[in-house]
Point group: C2
Chain length 542, copies 2
């Protein structure tokens, strides 16, 4: 551990100061502030656009697509038995509460049991949830079963749903009874508000479309916190918060929601001062107790991003102590030689790719976050609280180039087997361990290298695009956005997906594509790139 | 058709009077009155008494019984996974709304899907509802599936349930989550109020127990109308109303509920003036459109029973026109020779026994109802409105003895094959076609006769007991009550069952014992017999 930092620890300890004591002083205040920034949810009524059926199509995304069969009004006169296989299509991804009117052909003389199934994408609707065998709770798959004794009835379903499609199925009723579903409506909710920066859009249809899907994704994930995904993992994660905040600065500018997230993380941090990777709002704010160290450190960068967007120092002053303790917890894991050796049990996210060796990417993430933290310290005139930090950063950059650079391939290589991945190069570029010019060369060499481990999540692709821009590779960044996120649009995405591998529509980190979130926070950043770097990306037109 | 009655029709028609016109004049008024008699529901909080498991026992009713395994408080510390197979037992039959608290072992990071199953009897709890293949809507089988995202949560289930036992099962959750159910409570509802005639009970334990189960049955079925059964068929049926009203006069004396039923039937009667067999209160009072003719005619006898119990003439004056039109609709089906030939499509209930030939029993029911209607006319001085009625009654009695009496067997024989049944003898006795003395002989001969079609429902057994009492056979009536209803008590009944065949615990009119109602209105009459005829039944002690 760096000597100057050891001294810092010594000073703090001698003064009897530790994270727990400091945090306990502020937790209640932070929590109160987080409630002060609780946003209003805007509610808008949405009606179905059409009735569709899900048809097999080998060319379509996940090999099925929705095909229009009727106008929604037709259901008023079509009993459920006669519209079997038909599905209500709202024409867009919605997050909200659903109600419908149900009537019977004859006065009801027996109860009816109805299953209502929700899906974000056609393949999810086509799948039988009973066949789900993935790793996460099957209860995330959105369906309800209700038993109704009196008809007609307006049924208000009990949960919030994320969906474009709804299907109704009669599970049990009397033989002579049939049912008509109508007046289906969704009270869609979001705290996003208005897009305030549409004037920054490119004039080209393709990128305007990508921007629109990007905005829809972000809007759906903006609830009482920046959610991870409104269907599954309805909670805030730091890695996603960072990207959502970036997209938000270039769209809805609902900056209170960023502040709410930052204060919530501070209020629920661990005794050692580390913020947890994810937290829940209900029944009262509480974390899920694990630390993805890359996420913990990225918390600090959300602060610097926030300042860059708002020039508001108050939040930074409030939360500086939290930023500092992220660093103080990580520093003991960095050797004198600048090597990050995470303690056993610490894990890092980086990407959803089991094949990825994360050593180099994490090393880069740590440097990146420490750099941003030093920026923060400088801004707040608090450099004296982390006096050795620039030295640590310098040693880590040096170590990266000395230990992780494969001089034959002239690429960063990770782990004992020297794995070559996009993630490693990207995070070395973002860390500043290599110059933009060298970064361009890394990207160039990746192209001709075989067996490169590629990203599978839009999350890592975000950092690929960011790294390209860092290196001035606007053309490539634009191609990536147009190709990768645009690829989802080409395949019919209403909102950007949690997982997208152009070569495998069914890839899932959870053992089943049914469980994937098809509206996912970390995929929302094209609007950030396309607006922030509009001049550079579209210097040569659309 | 009887000549005098033809003249009556002629007079009415000449004056432009028909049922529809008359009814339309009064319907709104009748409906208003029915709402005036809408009772308050008494709500009482009930808590579980014990935790049980359902165990196989060849000696037990339906071959299973509930065996205590724990105190209900134990569940606060026992996760659902560890109490699998365990069932909450409230120790009594309840009708009401259910809520419970559910907590998790760790802060919930995924939703949980829970199935809550209700059962009136252990075998229903033991059965897998998915195996149900009966004729009625499977949705009557009481279970709910709820998906919960936030824990702890107090779950208030959406329907009203009729049950003694509740089971909780986790259908889906995350692998590291477990759940604790506690604070289970039922807000039990009934409009019954207090038993006002307990001083009329016999002093013997056995018959006091039968009376108690009888009262519980009636209490559970007394809601905003006299319901058929609180689990299934949550509606009023005339045949049950009659028996419930009788039991009510000797217990809760909630006579407004009888009036509410009578006015509801009048307000929802058909255009020809016939009351329908059953009606629903929600969403607005409406009948299920079929006429069990025995039930339609028994409507009139509910009026005379009501007068006998209350000496209140106002309701009779109001509803005389309805009583009259029941008769006017049936009379054209009676030949000059006094034979009842129901029009094609008319059906009669009498009993749930597919083997039963109903010809004679229905004939008897018609005479019985016409006799009671004539009593009513006499009471109201309205004999002139049905001038030929005594003649019709006389001709029907004569016809019964001439056409339906098998002189070899000296028993009434029904249908082309001359079927001998208890139902036929009973209704001949109740009709007055035979004297009490002859009635006693009929019962005596039934004993030695082979191949007698026996009752299967407590409904018909009620009329068996009534016929015995009509014949002064108090000892036999007491034996029947003690043996048949007491048999249910011996087998553990908390409330009397819809169907009880001492030789077949699984008999069901619906193809599955799961569908049977185990708390059924028409089974509640022991309290009526035991209190009304206490002196006669217990002349020789308990």
């Amino acid at each position: 551990m760096n000597k100057l930092l050891l001294i810092t620890f010594f000073i703090l300890s001698a003064a009897g100061i530790n994270a727990q004591d400091i945090y306990e002083t502020y937790r209640a205040e932070w929590l109160k502030k987080s409630y002060g920034y609780l946003p209003e949810l805007h509610v808008s009524k949405r009606l179905p656009l059409q009735i569709v059926q899900i048809v097999t199509d080998p060319e379509a995304y996940q090999q099925v697509r929705a095909e229009k069969v009727a106008e929604p009004e037709s259901w008023i006169n079509t009993p459920i038995s006669a519209n079997k296989g038909q599905v209500v299509d709202f024409g867009e991804h919605l997050t909200g509460h659903v109600q419908f009117l149900i009537e019977s052909n004859i006065p009801a003389h027996a109860p009816v049991q109805i299953k209502i199934k929700f899906a974000e994408v056609p393949a999810e609707m086509d799948a039988d949830f009973n066949n789900y065998e993935g790793s996460l709770s099957k209860a995330w798959l959105q369906e309800e079963i209700v038993t109704l004794h009196t008809l007609p009835d307006t049924v208000i379903l009990p949960n919030r749903y994320a969906f474009r499609y709804i299907q109704f199925e009669v599970l049990a009723s009397a033989g002579d009874m049939d049912f008509f579903v109508s007046n289906i409506e969704c009270r869609a909710v979001s705290s996003a508000g208005e897009d305030k920066m549409s004037s920054y859009d490119s004039t080209g249809d393709r990128f305007r479309q990508i921007t629109k899907v990007s905005l829809n994704t972000l809007r759906e994930c903006m609830q009482t916190v920046f959610e991870d995904g409104p269907k599954r993992d309805r909670r805030i994660w730091i890695g996603d918060l960072k990207l959502q905040a970036l997209a938000n600065y270039y769209s809805f500018q609902n900056n209170d929601l960023v502040k709410r997230g930052l204060y919530l993380y501070a209020a629920t941090a661990a005794e050692n001062g580390l913020v947890y990777g994810t937290l829940f709002e209900e029944p009262s704010p509480h974390p899920q107790k694990h630390f993805p160290i890359d996420y913990c450190l990225l918390y600090n960068t959300v602060l610097t991003d926030y300042y860059e967007a708002t020039k508001d120092k108050e939040v930074l002053e409030d939360l500086w102590v939290v930023a500092k303790y992220q660093v103080l917890n990580v520093l003991p894991q960095i050797s004198e030689a600048g090597i990050f050796n995470p303690a056993p049990g610490w894990w890092n996210f980086i990407d959803w790719n089991d094949q990825l060796d994360k050593q180099v990417a994490v090393h880069g993430t740590v440097i990146y976050a420490l750099e941003k933290t030093w920026e923060l310290a400088t801004l707040l005139n608090r450099q004296n609280e982390l006096p050795g930090l620039p030295g640590v950063i310098a040693s880590m950059k040096k170590a990266a180039n000395e230990k992780y650079f494969n001089n034959d391939k002239k690429l960063f290589a990770s782990g004992a087997l020297g794995q070559i991945s996009t993630a490693s190069q990207v995070w070395m570029i973002l860390s500043g361990a290599v110059s933009p010019k060298d970064g361009r060369n890394l990207f160039g060499r990746l192209k001709s290298e075989r067996n490169v481990v590629q990203p599978v999540s839009p999350y890592l692709y975000h950092y690929v695009a960011e790294a390209m821009i860092t290196c001035g590779m606007y053309k490539e960044a634009k191609e990536l956005i147009g190709g990768y996120w645009g690829g989802m649009v080409d395949k019919g995405a209403d909102t950007f997906w949690e997982v997208y591998d152009p070569g495998n529509d069914f890839l899932s980190p959870y053992g089943s594509f049914m469980m994937n979130s098809y509206c996912h926070a970390w995929s929302c950043t094209p609007v950030y790139f396309l607006r922030k770097y509009r001049n550079e990306l579209f210097a040569e037109g659309d």
